[in-house]
């Protein structure tokens, strides 16, 4: 019987003396057992005391959290642009080092049936090619072979950093379907 009492008293502790949550048989036991009955009453009173321990609600907390999360989200968006900007910068550097885009020949590569849209696109690429080629010429003239080699190393390191950051930032969805 003692073991039974302990098991029931454990339940009474969990339910804070609410005998309604016990089974019929357990309830009958509590009614007949003075020790369990005393525990039930004590737990009930303890439950009433603990019911008042929660502090009043902080009505502004939700809006403060919201404001802080907005700021964090803005920061995160800006940070998310960094790898993109770095990639563009390094790609541009690579193009410059390789001597610019393969300019006017792009037009020749287009299909014969290309429409006016293709032509204007190729023309604008051609314009950009002039800019890149000039920049590449100027860079090659300004940089010594040693500096150029160092720039290549920096570019490779940059790509490695971008790849590493992209791996870390890959979204991992914590949800998986159960069907």
């Amino acid at each position: 019987m003692a073991n039974n009492c302990e098991a029931i008293q454990e339940l009474l502790t969990e339910y804070l003396g609410e005998t309604e949550r016990l089974s019929e048989e357990e309830r009958r036991h509590v009614e007949l057992c003075p020790q369990c009955c005393e525990v039930a009453a004590g737990e009930n009173a303890l439950g009433l005391i603990f019911a008042g321990v929660l502090p009043p609600a902080d009505l502004t907390m939700a809006s403060r959290v919201r404001a802080a999360t907005h700021a964090a989200r803005r920061r995160r968006r800006l940070l998310a642009l960094l790898p993109v900007a770095a990639s563009l910068l390094f790609a541009l550097l690579g193009v410059v080092m390789l001597g610019g885009l393969p300019g006017g020949s792009l037009l020749a590569l287009l299909p014969v049936w290309s429409s006016q849209g293709w032509v204007s696109l190729a023309a604008s690429v051609g314009d950009w090619n002039t800019v890149f080629t000039t920049a590449a010429g100027a860079t090659t003239a300004l940089l010594s072979p040693g500096v150029l080699a160092a720039a290549i190393v920096v570019s490779l390191l940059g790509f490695a950093v971008v790849a590493f950051v992209a791996r870390r930032w890959r979204r991992v969805s914590p949800w998986h379907d159960i069907d």
Partner: protein, 210 residues
Amino acid sequence: MKPGICLRNSDVETLYHDEAVSFEKASDEQLVRLALDGEEDAFTVLVRRYQRRLTAFLSQLVGDVELARELSQEAFIRSWSALERFDPKYRFSTWLFRIGHNLGIDHLRRRRLKTVALYRTDRQGDEVELVVEDHTKDPLGHFENTELAGSLKQSIDGLRPEYRELVMLRHFGCLSYQEIAEFKEMPLGTVKNKLFRAHAVLRKALEAFL
């Protein structure tokens, strides 16, 4: 829906489209999923749902209700920032409480490093510790019955540390036995047994109020 069960997409679709189902009625898991989908109100509901419990738990941990509010706020911000890494194997409640608990422990560590004991010398030349009482920071300062609040604090402080933490999680954090077992990574039976023993001590200590 039982807590801890992953959602089908259709469950979330229902929440989006059925206006009769408000966020307040949604489970934690549904709200987390909605928050991940960019629904900010869903996270606000989680904040409202847990702020008093987390603050009560942390105020017992750090002994200062205002500081506990700040730590709770920080815990919510951190949980929001890390929501994508939330593992649905666990409950949101235990995850949030773990973040809050870690913040509280970090704070206590820092405070211990910075603490300077305040002493003054009395007329006899003996050193007397200065006690600065501030009831607005008292975790149980909102209790109308100050005598009961004092006895409750004393009886909880008098518990063995392993019992005290479980009582804090159960009655201040309002976590279920199952949630406590998850939080403490402890078998459910052990949680039941320890809380049973802790309650026996509390019942005795608070006999005059029961």
